[in-house]
Amino acid sequence: MAKVAAVTGNEAVANALRQVNPDVCAAYPITPQTEMMQRFASFVSDGKVKTELILVESEHSAMSSCVGASAAGGRVITATSSQGLALMWEILFIASGTRLPIVMPVVNRALSAPLNIHGDHSDAMGARDTGWIQLWSENAQEAYDNTVQAFRIAEHMDIRLPVMICMDGFIISHSISRIEYLEDEEVRNFVGEFRQLNPLLNIEHPVSYGPLILQDYYMEYRKAQDEVASKVSRIAMEVANDFANLSGRKYGLFETYRLDDAEIGIIILNSAAGTSKDVIDEFRGKGIKAGLLKPRLFRPFPYKEIGEALKHLKAVCVLDRADAFGGSFGPVFLDIATSLYPFQNKPVLINKIYGLGGRDYLPDHAASVLNELIQIAETGTVKRYKEYIGVRE
């Protein structure tokens, strides 16, 4: 039976990791992830897990140790935030290119400079094209559930790719909320025994990792990796269906909220989706057909499915908690625009940048976005395609 508890997001995910009982964890502390690995380190010290905990001197070393331990044939985890993820960047590509199923919760935090420790999505968005799978989580429950599912997706023999589980720093990582834990045994059975693929430590069959691949083969390996990415949606849904049977909680590639008959819509990731849903309910109460789409599997991005889900709308605002500098749009906007590109009839799209560096996203922000969308849907005219909201002029 499920155990209900009031815990922080960090504690919830630390418990998912405890229940999985991985072979190796190499981690370095960074706000706001610190509490998660601190709790996991306590599980190691208290003998609650049999994990080999490697205390390293930086996140670059943390990810490098994970790569080595995963190639050796272990089930491997780490966790990070912000600058830590940025410091891992070089090795992130090595983990995915070497097809190592490492699982890493990322507690989203702004990037420096200016220095800021609070929640925004700049860190994980900077790593969105590293070949890692990304699952995004609205609240502690979703972060816990995504973490449990991440192992099955990462370790699937058709996939073998690393997975990041993203959740908002402080807003989720440090807020206490109600969550339902699965039983330890249920999680253990769900993730199953770790299956090795060409482990380095199998001395009966010596293998080499990390060869130099030149002009004659590099592109073939990249094509193979792209092909694997195209299978992730299907596997993620298989895992989500099994998880629904176990927990009663259903997950898709993305969540839609009152979207089927909607005329205007908001696309938003993670914790701000909750606030937006409340405001959408208010607008629905006034007879306005508003809806929401919240991506969950952000990498690989399910372009086809998301395009199909949005094409009937009249006006859509993509809210980004990160900006893609360079005179362009926010990262979620870029992908939503791409997903709608193939359709003849599609909604007018606008982009708002909100909540950077942990700036509060308030119901008023969602309301003003929806009011603007009503105007656009009626008139078809857009004043500004991209705009910062909740910012002082």
Partner: protein, 97 residues
């Protein structure tokens, strides 16, 4: 060697056949080629000892021909060769000349 399609590759470029470096012939990297002059050879086997690429063949304990499939032309053998009476048993010749 026929090049494989992307569908035939091991995940993550992992090499699962031990010792398969011998299938990758590196002799084409060479711009200078060592040439053995047998009459100046005293069979000291320094060349075999110093060669970083096992490109000196030895037969019945005696120096045999170079393995040009793998010799990269580094010239270490020619440098170390003591020769006989001041005449080297290995000299480097530019490829294609």
């Amino acid at each position: 060697m026929k090049l494989k399609s992307w569908k035939e590759l091991n995940p993550g470029a992992v090499i699962t056949d031990a010792g398969n470096a011998k299938e990758f012939k590196t002799g084409s990297w060479r711009s200078f080629k060592p040439v053995w002059i047998e009459e100046n050879c005293i069979q000291c086997l320094f060349c075999w000892l110093y060669c970083p690429d096992m490109a000196i063949k030895v037969k019945d304990g005696k120096r045999a021909e170079f393995d040009y499939d793998f010799c990269k032309g580094c010239g270490i053998c020619a440098l170390e060769c003591p020769g006989k009476k001041g005449n080297k048993a290995i000299i480097m010749v530019e490829e294609g000349k």
